[in-house]
Amino acid sequence: MKYLNPKRAYQSLGKKFFFETLIFSVFLLFFYGPLLNTLMLAFAEQYQVPHVLPTRFGFEWWAYIFSQNDLLESIANSFLIAVLATGASLLICIPAAYALARFEFKGKSFFMFSFLLSNAFPKIGLYTSLGILFYRFQLMGTLTGVIIVHILNTMIFMIWIPSSSFRNVHRQQEEAARDVGAGPIRTFMQVTLPAAVPGIAVSSMYTFLGSLEEAQGTLLVGFPEIKTMATSMYSVILDYPPMAGAVFSLVLMLPTFLIIWICRKLFGKDLFSKGMSL
């Protein structure tokens, strides 16, 4: 205990390093503190005033969460919607990205810029006007409506990033394929697309993860028929003790960690820099 004296630490580390370490520690606490708190709460079985830390740890709340059918349904919904939204987004946006990469037409730069516009302002205004349209077309509270909202959020990624990936595929590679006898579609599928996979993989990953956590639009359009993890989170926090909320948020976070880890393993650590060249 004698050596835990701050004065001793100060003398041995030197003034600059001491303060840097101090500031860094404060930052780490600030950044990871809430996460650590969540971890602690998720495994707490008995946590009462006046104790600072839980008195008993266990999996009680995990068992509880997984026994609630509507919560399980919302977890399944989240993944279903994420998969469908990513798939539909790929189908719509990849051909558009290719067209923007290879062809010149009037209003092209404004068109590309317009995707930035929809992301530049608070989305709630966009969703409100969307809600009016959806009521007209009876899309409120339907799976289709929710998926449309998710696709809208992802369009900027799924068009800008793959577009630059396609642009980086040299025209001569495609010309060589045409020269050898491949038609335009075969050339696209066997030569252009494989070469652009890193960029498309990055955007698909962002789309999938973004869809999992999308709450605002889903709440507005899907509630109460369609419940996802993100929207159920609101009711879990309000209706249940904090431990349940902690478990639920870990369940929400887990896919994100897993998918990023898998992508990093599959595509290498250069994935993000290669994919994100706008």
Binding site: H170, Q172, Q173, E175, A176, A177, R178, D179, V180, G181, A182, G183, R186, Q190, V191, P194, A195
Partner: protein
């Protein structure tokens, strides 16, 4: 009578900035190596791309083996093109690159394997089927690209400056390789380059191009010994130009001059003698014009700067009214 492989009839293609080709007529014989030679922007690549189907001409027709292919897209033409770079598909192995075209033509698997192995033998690169293009050197990549084209047995093999991205020593080896492969397969080759040395060493016939028009067509010796105009004369090899009266000029090569300290047609003063190995280059001043002359090793010993000498021109041509560049 040489077999006519390709006939290009009155082709034109003009770009927005004025570059391009105008009213080109060209006949290519079967089994020959024809080179399109010229500086950037002269239109040589445009002709090649029109031949390959990558560029639609504004007017004119192209016949290959007597068939009109003017409206056929690249994938339907009996031509095969090798580009300057980015030929091979990086995400496929060498085998997959070579087999791509054969698979499209529904050639049976066993035959594909045989053909690919045979081609790699021809290219003197046996056994690298499983490698990826990224693992090969630039020269090896270009050879595989040529192999891929040859596997399809094209009527014409088109090469668009394929060696320009390689270093000088490799370029020379690749030239010899190409000549050997062409001898063994007998394929008709159209080669585009801006390097006159490459054109001279490789071709059966050279087409010298200037600003979208053909300046001269001939064998390397014909073009070197008898250039028909100022442009061709100055483009190939070294050439001296002396202005004469009536807007004419006298053109002669540095090696076609005899030098003597006492006798000769013209007189000049040596400005500089530069050693170039087994010969020397002497810069002469004659009537305020700079003239280049080649001297043998012994001759070079005898002459020094500021020395007055006589020279006789053994062979020359006269051109009319050309604008000096």
């Amino acid at each position: 009578m040489k077999n006519l492989k390709v006939r290009i009839e009155n082709i034109s293609k003009v770009y927005e900035n004025g570059d391009g080709i105008r009213n080109i007529d060209l006949e290519i014989h079967a089994g020959e190596i024809m080179t399109l030679l010229g500086p950037s922007g002269c239109g040589k690549s445009t002709i090649l791309r029109c031949l390959g189907g990558f560029q639609e001409p504004d007017g004119g027709n192209i016949y290959i083996d007597g068939v009109d292919v003017t409206d056929a897209p690249a994938e339907k033409r009996p031509t095969s093109m090798v580009f300057q770079s980015y030929n091979l598909w990086g995400h496929m192995t060498v085998f997959e690159n070579l087999a791509f075209g054969l698979k499209l033509r529904k050639v049976p698997k066993s035959l594909i394997k045989e053909k690919v192995a045979g081609m790699l033998e021809l290219l003197k690169l046996p056994g690298i089927e499983k490698k990826y293009p990224g693992q090969l050197s630039g020269g090896q990549q270009q050879r595989i690209a040529i192999g891929r084209s040859l596997l399809l047995e094209p009527a014409v093999l088109l090469l668009d400056e394929p060696y320009s991205a390689l270093d000088a020593k490799i370029r020379q080896q690749m030239r010899e390789e190409l000549k050997r492969i062409q001898r063994e397969t007998g394929v008709t080759v159209v080669f585009v380059t801006h390097d006159q040395e490459e054109a001279m060493s490789l071709s059966d016939r050279i087409v010298v191009m200037q600003k979208g028009q053909i300046a001269q067509i001939g064998t390397p010796s014909e073009i070197y010994d008898n250039p028909v105009n100022h442009y061709t004369a100055s483009f190939i090899g070294e050439m001296n130009f002396l202005p004469l009266e009536n807007h004419q000029e006298l053109a002669f090569r540095p090696e076609d001059v005899i030098v003597s300290p006492h006798t000769g047609e013209h007189q000049g003063e040596i400005k500089q003698v530069t050693n170039a190995g087994h010969y020397s280059v002497a810069m002469l001043s004659h009537k305020n014009q700079s003239i280049k002359i080649y001297l043998s090793k012994d001759e070079a010993q005898a002459y020094k700067s500021n020395q007055s000498i006589y020279f006789t021109i053994k062979k020359s041509r006269t051109y009319q009214g050309e604008k000096r560049i």
